[in-house]
């Protein structure tokens, strides 16, 4: 019997960090002794265009190299995508979808094509990004919120990757801001 592969589909707009989130979660899973893949669905690189990222995580080696055929969680970085993209197209029944929005879960729910048992979660990751990092880059807070609702990886396991990804390029202030944003979103995510 093949080992279960946990799949995450990340929806964002070019520049929001969907690829970074997809690979960061995969990288942290590796450090936790798991097998993983993180990759974007490539198209022409255009700031603001809808983009997808994918993460696969498993306890056994992963040999599949296609896009995901179904997934166990969806994270949407921008609520304006909801009218443009069917963000839950790959989401399996009973699984969660997380939306970055200032609106309530009940309101965004209307824009989603939900299947049986799928739950909606919301977090205002833009505001958290602005408050803590100084920019409305939602990727790290979205990771924090997703870890809360899925329990996939311990939240403390991300500190090393945040340091590695942002430390040399942006300095300690940005690292600290991202760590705060990660934890704040973990606390603030709300079920719909």
């Amino acid at each position: 019997m093949a080992a279960k592969i946990y799949g995450i589909c990340w929806h964002g707009r070019g520049g929001q960090g969907a690829k970074t989130a997809a690979t960061m979660v995969a990288d942290v899973a590796l450090a936790q002794g798991k097998y993983s893949q993180g990759f974007p669905e490539y198209g022409p690189e255009r700031m603001g265009a809808p983009v997808r990222g994918y993460t696969r995580i498993s306890d056994a080696p992963i040999t599949i190299h296609s896009s995901l055929e179904s997934c166990d969680a969806v994270a949407v970085f921008d609520d304006t995508l909801l009218d443009v993209v069917d963000v839950c197209d790959l989401l399996a029944e009973g699984c969660p979808v997380l939306i970055n929005t200032a609106k309530g879960a009940a309101e965004v729910r209307k824009s989603l094509k939900l299947k049986t048992g799928q739950k909606v979660f919301v977090v205002d990751a833009n505001k958290i990004g602005l408050d803590e990092i100084g920019r409305a880059i939602p990727n790290v807070p979205m990771i924090g919120a997703l870890m809360k609702i899925t329990g996939l990886l311990p939240i403390d396991s991300f500190a090393h990757d945040i340091e590695k990804k942002f430390g040399r390029k942006f300095g300690q202030k940005v690292v600290d801001g991202n760590n705060r944003a990660l934890k704040r979103a973990f606390e603030e995510v709300k079920a719909g």
């Binding site: 995969a26 002794g33 893949q37 993180g38 190299h65």
Partner: protein
Amino acid sequence: MSTTAVSKGAGSKFTPHEIMGLSGNEAAAEALKQVNPDVAAVFPITPQTELMHKFAEYVANGAVDTELINVESEHSAMSATVGASAAGARAVTATSANGLALMWEIVAIASSLRLPIVMPVVNRAISGPLNIHCDHSDTMGCRDLGWIQLYSEDSQEAYDNMIQAFRIAEDKSVMLPVMVTFDGFIISHTMERVEIIADDGVVRKFVGEYKPENYLLNAQHPVTYGPLDLPDWLFEHKRQEVQGFLNAPEVIKKVGREYGQITGRSYDLLENYRMDDAELAVVALGSTAGTAKAAIDELRDEGVKAGLVKIRCFRPFPGKELCATLGRCKAVSVMDRSFSFGLEGGPVFNEIRGAAYGAGLKVPMVSHIYGIGGRDINVTQIRGIFEGLKKLASGGRIETVENYVGLRE
């Protein structure tokens, strides 16, 4: 973008390794760093660009002492590599698709001069119309230019093949350039788990010091490279090139075994996956072989005797080995990620069918062309291929030899 995690515990018979999250490009660059070649000629082309970008960082920060040559085109990249190799250096370059097409002329010259160049080729569709995504039209298109071709399933194999390629190319009985291919974006830009040999010294010892025999900078024994070669000698020289390919399989297998003794990952010309009692088989190369394995695992759970033959070494072509395995099956599909226009079935299919005729195989065999220009190929689609094979195995007729997977018609 790399994580250092646990190593295999002390007491393992294999050399210590680090587990890293690397893309295929990063894994190939890591292998190049550990080998530390003398010369690298670099020119960017998607999706290869990141590979030499990463390697250029290693040059800039002093991790290697490679002479990096920035050139103005791929034609110049291969020319500089040929010049460096003929001069006596261990020389590399890297490319994709149209870059490979532009260097075409010199690609053939490199092999005819018996220069042991190593070149990663990140598979991408040859234009046009313009497409930056994966298919195998680039490397299949130059399968007759005299290079050894090793196809990699994932980032791990890209790394492993890169290291082994130097030993294979530089073997005195081979002396042929080697292309190490991996699928553009699907492997080149996917971050996944890769085991890296922890000690660069172990890699350098495995690859060995490069000791050229006849080279231009040896003033004691002057030689000429690339002179006029008219009807009186070219035939003989090409026949010698053939001999390099005849000698290569044993060398590739030997190097693959020795690599396995160090790392625990052995390599052969082919990889047979669940083929022992397989009745239905697909043949694939590159990343699709891995996706096929997942499809086969599902089918096996359902009681279907499915298997995969993965071609790692496409040149020299392991026809005998393929037939030995496929001859026991009841139906076979050969998966091609490129066309051979004007020929029924893809290039890999036709080579296998040719070999099958020579070996007297009577197995029904069909061609499935897929994944052109980066079109996705998934587990469900590969299961669909096996559904077709079930019908053939139970006596169904071959309706069409050349079939398409994932095509809108």
